[in-house]
Symmetry: C3
Subunit: 154 residues, 3 copies
């Protein structure tokens, strides 16, 4: 099944690409690499929730936010490449999790994004990853994720 | 107007490239990508100010620091490439802002760097960006910014 | 002396590659770039120590952790490329240091990793670097480091 077919099977509707929060763009291409901006869990134009994981945000809520950020990334990628089927590989994701000082399960948060990429792209969705905790993120979001993908030549 | 002409028009004097704070170098090239080290707001060899935005540093001061870091990056790029006119594209910047837990306007801080790149390079200055808050930076600086540029082949 | 010979001379035994903590892989290749996941200071399958530098972890302990993370990275690189002698260049490392708000010597922590790379790879080990403080890391580790290397074409 192609990524586009898989997205349909999963019942995922790609949202309108979220607007950048400043003087930058959502995606740049160099060679056959696509770099995406840090993506926040926007849904219907609003940040899903605010605060820090381990404080007022639960692990499951943060996982939901990581998945939402990944879906937003797919929306950016589709807008840029025309079709998710043009993407040959997810190279890397970097996830920043707004964390209370005692929360150390950032990898479990990010797994929700990583697992979705694997579901959609299969082996081509397997990527390297860095997951770190930070004390605060833009708009007080719980999660911010960067992505690097590889796109087919043509 | 070329980037070099634009720099002159803006009255920006590129400083001497700041010395690395450790066992690393300011710039590496792979293919036609230039990766820069994380750059702090040094001016005349000193860090501009110390502390955290939202605590003892204002948004405007942090914006000034982001612009200073970007100017330092241009100095590194020029030293490496010979001329800013050799740069074909800014691919990505990653900005870390030392933030009080209640400060969530990291994008506004980074806009000062992004806007400068757009002023100087025009469309080629438009990049993707990640902006995150952190609790502390080297030398207690307010801002640290990484850059990836593309350079012409030759 | 080649990197493999140098490793032997230094008496460094490359450990078994640490298992990823989630749904990701240790290394991806795109073109002749190798991206590594964020690497923690595991030794014999356990995280070396937990906490924050400037609080319950000393600078020297954190330096030891940074070196351990770098050795783990070499193990990943060797498993992936077959031999460290295939690596033509270290392009970049990004180091996250779990820091008390008053600890600002992240560069000194990361130097332990950077110096090791220079010892092993010589000039080809010189890289760009970003070092930032964060309030907490996965598993409450003191240090997490990402690496980008260049590998020979063949």
């Amino acid at each position: 099944m192609s990524p586009e077919e898989k997205i349909k099977e999963l019942g995922i509707e790609l949202p309108v690409t979220p607007k950048p929060l400043g003087s930058y763009i959502p995606c740049t291409r160099t060679g056959n690499l696509l770099f995406l901006s840090g993506i926040l869990p926007f849904r219907d134009g609003l940040i899903t929730r605010t605060g820090r994981v381990g404080e007022n945000i639960t692990l499951n809520e943060a996982r939901d936010d990581a998945r939402t950020a990944a879906i937003n990334a797919l929306s950016v990628l589709k807008a840029y490449a025309g079709s998710l089927d043009k993407l040959t590989r997810c190279i890397k994701i970097t996830g920043y999790v707004a964390s209370s000082p005692g929360f150390t399960e950032q990898p479990k948060v990010l797994n929700a994004a990583s697992d979705l990429l694997f579901e959609i792209f299969g082996e081509a969705g397997r990527h390297v990853r860095a997951a770190v905790g930070v004390n605060v993120l833009p708009l007080n979001a719980s999660v911010e994720i960067e992505f690097i993908f590889e796109v087919s030549e043509e």
